[in-house]
Symmetry: C2
Subunit: 480 residues, 2 copies
């Protein structure tokens, strides 16, 4: 039991609970190298699901996948000064190849703008070559010095980075919003995690960008998590890397660029938002296993008949396209199996005992509510479809309620500080727009501006910090 039982309580020791669930459910493991992690079978299957969903979206809109080298020569990485300054403290460097010191050390990509755009300048010559819309799925290295955390902050992680070049500023702006909206769809409608969207303040934007848009969610411990970003790079990199095209007007122009990414961090968010004291709860739309069937053999009853029926149900469900596991292992008890599959967050469990067999039914158990329903055999597929949707909706609704509960509009700085200490979460407050105020708030409370909403609300009060005229209402939070 101790192998699979979750001993920490989500409400009491959130941080320990998180690590325990991730490890015991087998999503990840610590690696023999500090600060890195092993992404295990179920977590990788969820990542593949995210890949499949996003690939389908972006390929349908003319983006194509590519692969650029992981190594970036120092001279290239340093070419855009602001960009380099932003990444330099966390770059891992290759200095030796075999037993030979390299002439120029090589950065392991912390992101690929520089290595890609040095090549864009070769690929793009005319307006006919635009828009250029590519994406790559790869590993990324950022040499974190802060404490690392499975999925949320590791020195190596997996991500996707979209990079596009356009003839006009308007097209680039539309692309930034395109990526953001597709990300929102994945987060809300697949991972069942509601997000706030908006732009970052200048101090929080991507190093080298014109502006950064982001998706932010709130975790049960009250800390915000950046779920994804989509950057408008303007012509900044284009000018540095000489990415120019001859327009239909026969004149030279610099391209307008965007880049956008989501990472394996999303899996950590999913664990934190939906899990409970029994373990994971995986939203049905991304679940590697949607239904587990557990036969309950009884002494004296007909174990073969139960096994045969369980197999029949399993085959029927698989034929209908569900991801089903039939757990017919003899060496574990049904109770042990229930615990294990609950730990692993499988949305629906189907129990089949001797009495069920006699009555031509099964018992279907929801992972999210624990609710048990006897279901006639013929109704299993329809009930499954219905239940999976209900679980998906319920997880999102619950997460949305939490997001709302953890969002507080404040009028005074006293209130701001009080809320940060008491419950955390998003704090909606007015801001004068000064980086100075922003920095002081960060120093004094640990909270940063997470997003500035696209739909501006007219501030009804002065700046929450300095009392000067406010220019907008923004969301602050402490964050991961």
């Amino acid at each position: 039991m101790s192998d699979i039982g979750v001993t920490f309580k989500k409400n009491q020791d959130f941080s320990e609970w998180y690590v325990e669930v991730v490890l015991k459910a087998g999503l990840a493991d610590y690696a023999p190298v500090k600060g890195c992690m092993i992404i295990r079978e179920d977590a990788y299957a969820i990542w593949e699901k995210i890949q499949e969903i996003l690939n389908k979206k972006i390929k349908a809109t003319g983006h194509r996948n590519v692969y650029f080298p992981m190594f970036i020569p120092e001279a290239l990485l340093t070419k855009e000064a602001e960009h380099f300054a932003g990444f330099t403290p966390e770059v891992a460097w290759i200095t030796m190849g075999g037993n030979t010191p390299l002439e120029e050390k090589l950065a392991v990509r912390p992101t690929s703008e520089t290595v890609m755009y040095a090549t864009f300048s070769k690929w793009i010559r005319s307006w006919r070559d635009l828009p250029l819309k590519i994406n790559q799925w790869c590993n990324i290295v950022r040499w974190e010095t802060k404490a690392t955390r499975l999925f949320l902050r590791t020195r190596e992680f997996l991500w996707q980075e979209g990079h596009t070049a356009h003839a006009t500023s308007e097209e680039a702006e539309a692309e930034v919003m395109y990526a953001l909206n597709e990300y929102k769809d994945i987060m809300e409608n697949y991972l069942a995690i509601p997000v706030l969207v908006g732009t970052k303040s200048d101090s929080e934007k991507f190093a080298g960008a014109l502006y950064t848009t982001a998706l932010e969610s709130i975790m049960p411990d009250g800390k915000a998590l950046q779920m994804g970003t989509s950057h408008n790079l303007g012509q900044n990199f284009g000018k540095v890397f000489e990415v120019k095209f001859i327009g239909e007007d026969k004149m030279d122009h610099y391209v307008w660029q965007t880049s956008w990414g989501i990472t394996t961090r999303l899996i950590g968010a999913m664990v934190m938002v939906h899990g409970d004291d029994k373990g994971l709860i995986i939203p049905p739309k991304v679940a590697p296993v949607q239904v587990v069937i557990v036969p309950i053999p009884f002494k004296g009853a007909e174990p073969e008949a139960i096994a045969a029926k369980a197999k029949e149900i399993s085959e029927t469900m698989k034929a209908k396209g569900y991801n089903v596991i039939l757990d017919g292992r003899d060496e574990y008890t049904p109770g042990w199996k229930f615990n294990q599959w609950e730990l692993k967050g499988v949305p629906i469990r189907i129990e089949l005992g001797p009495r069920d067999l006699k009555q031509g039914q099964v018992v279907m158990v929801r992972r999210d509510t624990g609710q048990k329903t006897p279901v006639k055999e013929a109704d299993i597929p329809a009930t499954t479809e219905h239940l999976l949707q209900e679980i998906q909706d319920n997880l999102f609704a619950k997460a949305k309620t939490i997001l709302q509960e953890k969002t507080t509009a404040v009028k005074t700085y006293e209130e701001f500080k009080q809320i940060i200490c008491d419950k955390g979460g998003f704090i909606k407050a007015t801001w004068c727009g000064s980086p100075d105020c922003e920095a002081k708030i960060k120093d004094e409370t640990g909270a940063t501006i997470r997003v500035r909403p696209f739909q501006k609300e007219e501030p009804t009060a002065n700046c929450v910090h300095c009392g000067q005229k406010a220019v907008e209402t923004v969301y602050f939070a402490r964050s991961y």
Copy 2:
């Protein structure tokens, strides 16, 4: 024209022809870092196709994908002495994180046995945990000092590495053959490249393996290319990394392990084997675009009607699941488009001109033979299906003929040396089994033993080199 025309001849300047085709067809590009490459859109799409095919196979047989860290601490990599000795000359080392020298330098994975098996020892405790069958798709770094070559030898490449652990030697042996056979299926039935299979000699086996099986093909220049390998690791790594399990007999046992991989090199093989003086020829089953439709508007004719019909055909074909591109660009002539799509190796071109429109037909052109056939509109889907299969079969048949032509059975060492100089290819010869003879042949001719066939042929002569009694008949070749 010079942008897309292939200027080298495959027969005359094979090596230059290869590079020109790869670059101009847009499969790859040189990167701003020496010895590395950019895998471009079409090549990456072929890689995704290979991923899809192999994933389907291995998942159906209980393998699951995972992701292990790319960094391997020096102490871990050196733990299995033979393995480390095999890889150490080509390891890239991370020595700095940010501005701080690392306490222990980290290898960028040249392969993942060590980092994985250090963890297997944690995951595997009992026979219930076996077999463990995992796979990962990732980047690999080997710091080549020889001249690099797009797809065939680069310092970073993409691959898949399967790693399994079993309770018995028999199961491990079966797994080695399972992977080998699935690879053979992909190479022959998808990439249309015939291969020889067999084991490697001890001097050519994977560093640390009990034995290595391999798939080898011959390129048009007469050099062999290793297409994939599947290793039986025996209990060697298990003993070093303490990967033990308690058997059903309650006793401790070391696991039996396998590892197997294929890489992006396969794309280079595909180019070399099938391409011609017009550019690529991509086997239909892995082609990112299977059919390109080129409308041929004529002055005075109805361009709108042609465009509308082309679109209709395109939609019909897409609905039937074909990968179709309708090239309706106004800024290029039909002739220019023909050249471009031939360069890119699209298996079928559909031409639609005013006369075709009037007659309710199109002209379908095969990329492999250039053969043109008028086809009634209603017959397009059926003809497409038929032609794609014919092209696939034809490419394989042609490649098989070349393999046969380039395989020579020799009786004497004089003949051996003559063939190596004259035409290269596989040389089938008898061998005494001595590593010493093998080494001398390599020194004197540059040829190595590529495979020792599974089905042993009784040697009808003595060793081709030393004249002592031969123990088997093997295939030699110079190789990439």
